[in-house]
Symmetry: C2
Subunit: 492 residues, 2 copies
């Protein structure tokens, strides 16, 4: 049975018009305020020739207008193609062609890159967010319902190899993600979710979707700033926040002796596997960290550590959300507990596939199960431990080496600010691990110290054979370490 | 896309084995305890020849064993046919034949009626709950997933005219009902839901389903007892309760000057339209009443008054749950606000139809909308006010008279304990309203007093033309007034 449910924003505004929808700097929008703005914008888009089923690309910052535009596209059942702001023009052109986007709407700061796109791909209509505002309105009837199988958003995965792939996220995927998360984290009318992740990333857009589905305000931040975040968390102005490790590390570094307000109930930690020492610090500081595991293809978290287990299972990302399932797979069969293998997930929040990628769809989506490309294992009780990306795995003399494990050890050294580990070719061992370090203080003996430090906890084959001091590590728009780019420090 | 989600109890036990599942008298079962019992029971049922797709009728009281049996059937994907304990043998036989139930499982107290059933319908296997216990176990694999479109339970509507109809409630209907309710009422890990409604009624079984979906304990009560309920609510042992008006009235009558604990956050009031004076009393006593509207066909509440509106819109049952919709329909088109008409609802919690009733399905389920058979209107803001059952409507001299409105006036008289109003034939007016009253104190002038009282607030045509003093009103197993049976006081 094809399930339809009411147009999210229209229904939410009908049900609770006066509840807060979101906060930006010192301004607050109720669902009613927002819907009025969104209706105007939708009518202007219609004037531009936008219609149901079209794809429109967005090159926008975390600002109120962006929230309105995202909702306006949903009012028209138009697919939003979220462009990562940090991409080059040629990378964007690839995504525009692949998604057959008719229009780009960009913030004024992206005027220059939009012109570049226009030069190499003149078939696309480019409009600044301000230009949309100047359009006249065309009267239309707004849709009453969404079909859960309809595509709502297209988001390109950074892609570990080859071209990025456009993940087709349906209204249903977002719905099930939001309700699955609610069954784990609870829903309270006191909640305000801090969105310091980019809205073009699944961790950002999923907050916007939860807001309209739960009837919960979110606090939108244009750019992550640890001092401002700490202020919000200490004063109790927000109750939940989504972060990745590097953000959390910066927050803790600038927190000093302050404590987060007791209303702050959930630090939802995603992205890379979190270093153990970070989790331990959070435990000491009584920060309620919920480790989670998820990706663009799962429309946000799919495995999360429950409240009751957050201390007992430190380092685990937990168990699947209620509507989801998980298995560890290797060579066509499920692994026993504690044996690492491919992490496979299933659930109605998992995207139905990639756009225009029949081969990738065949290899990644098998009988309803999605192969995440990550390696991990479950313990006897079914808690998931993520080791690494399959593609980041280093095989040295037949031994599997997980970069994240080495990085976690390095990060626990007092002089290490950031650490990245990858494999390089080795004539004897096939591959060997090498480390890239951002130091806190440059000392003459830093390398020897790190080797000695590693020898205390790591098997010999796991100890990096070379160390490189760097000023920063390659990270993507959501601050995730891109290990395959580490090698450029040596080769370029 | 056919959505599958994990077997509710198996997944819940996997995710949170040690959380409380339910409480009965002084005993507590965790999800793990319960699942162990349920697995044993399921294996015994298999020995009995029960298999996926079968229908099994249950004639059981609100007891732990009943909870286990309901879950055991779900483990086997067997449909549970819930028999109302108050039915006669011949009424039960009708439902057994209609649902093609293979077996009845009954509590020992229903031995006698089971024998009666056996006499008139020897083709059914009858087993007491104790007999099931004595069976040996057959090893099986438990299902990992439910298809949301599969039928989970069959529940017969009391039926206002003609034979009762078996409502087909799917796993998806229960799922969407639970998650839709959660989006309105919130989910807190402090919650314990009091189930004093029969488990064979949708208001009871829906608590059991929410428990396993939310991971929330419920407090099971064998039989509603206002003193025990008040004790639980005053001590804060439960936080939410489902009631109908008559239960709430009894609770208030015996509450005296006590107050419910501040942890008690929701009195979910369903069933008949609630008398205004009852709601006003609850407001005075700071009882957090959430009026709601729902039925067997909507798998529990579908329209509920939100927290923020409970005082502002006293008397309304609120707005639809997030995944649901509502319209007032008359003669093929939607009515304007404040014009009464048929209440139509739509949503993924609405049953797909009745078993073996193609004609009823055609008239009641139209383009995905279900005609509830109730009459009501919405105000300008979309809040629903339920007037009455279409079939209880009295038409007198061309005027519509809603029995519930008259009853509410009568109930606000200090000497009226209960009141029921129905229409009887009248040679001049077609029909005329008559009232049946349970008095608090018998006085010689009670009738004159009530007429005088009605004259103050009711138009002349609405004032009952005859009054009958009775000892009790006809109610069904969930305490709902059955107006069509009032007439028996005169005719029998």
């Amino acid at each position: 049975m094809q399930v339809t449910i009411p147009n999210f924003l229209k229904q939410r505004t009908f049900l609770t018009p006066h509840r807060q929808a979101f906060i930006f700097e010192n301004e607050v929008w109720s669902f009613n305020d927002m819907y009025e703005r969104v209706k105007v914008l939708s009518r202007k888009m219609v004037t531009l020739g936008v219609k149901e089923g079209d794809s429109i690309a967005l090159l926008l910052k975390n600002r109120p207008e962006t929230v309105f535009i995202i909702h306006a596209l949903q009012q028209l059942r138009v697919k939003a193609v979220f462009l990562n702001n940090k991409l080059t023009a040629s990378e964007m052109v690839f995504q525009l062609k692949d998604s057959e986007a008719k229009i780009i709407i960009h913030d004024i700061e992206f005027e220059h890159i939009s012109k570049e796109i226009s030069n190499s791909y003149p078939f696309i209509l480019i409009k600044s967010q301000n230009e949309i505002e100047t359009l006249i309105e065309t009267e239309i009837n707004f849709v009453d319902e969404y079909r859960l199988d309809d595509v709502c958003s297209i988001m390109y995965t950074s892609g570990t190899t080859g071209q990025p792939k456009g993940v087709l996220q349906t209204y249903g995927n977002h719905w099930w993600s939001a309700t699955g998360a609610a069954l784990n984290l609870g829903i309270s009318k006191e909640d305000i979710w801090l969105c310091a992740m980019p809205l073009f990333h699944i961790s950002g857009i999923s907050i916007l979707m939860r807001s309209v589905i739960y009837g919960m305000p979110f606090y939108l931040m244009e750019k992550f700033n640890e001092n401002l975040v700490n202020k919000l968390l200490c004063s109790g102005q927000v109750t939940i926040m989504s972060v990745v490790s590097t953000m959390l590390q910066k927050m803790i570094a600038s927190l000093n002796n302050q404590k987060y307000h007791q209303r702050f109930r959930c630090m939802l930690l995603g992205g890379d596997p979190a270093p153990r020492h970070l989790l331990e610090t959070c435990t000491q500081k009584e920060i309620p960290v919920f480790q989670s595991f998820g990706m663009t293809e799962t429309s946000s978290q799919i495995v999360t550590l429950s409240p009751e287990d957050s201390l007992k299972k430190l380092g685990s990302v937990g168990k699947p959300l209620f509507p989801a399932q998980l298995k560890i797979f290797q060579e066509g069969k499920e692994n026993e507990p504690s044996i690492p293998g491919d992490i496979m997930v299933k659930g109605p929040n998992v995207a139905s596939g990639y756009l225009n990628r029949p081969t990738a769809n065949q290899t990644s989506f098998i009988d309803g199960w999605f192969n995440t490309g990550d390696i991990g294992y479950v313990d006897e009780e079914g808690y998931l431990y993520v080791l690494d990306r399959r593609s980041d795995l280093i095989i040295s003399g037949g031994e599997n080496i997980y970069p994240a494990e080495i990085e976690a050890v390095l990060l626990s050294h007092p002089n290490v600010e950031e650490a990245g580990v990858t494999g390089i070719k080795d004539p004897i061992w096939g591959q060997k691990p090498v480390a890239f370090i951002v130091l806190k203080n440059k000392t003459s003996t830093w390398e020897e110290e790190l080797v000695e430090f590693c020898q205390k906890t790591l098997a010999k084959y796991k100890i990096p054979k070379e160390f490189y001091k760097v000023n920063q590590l390659p990270r993507n728009a959501s601050n995730k370490l891109i290990r395959r780019n580490l090698i450029r420090y040596i080769t370029e």
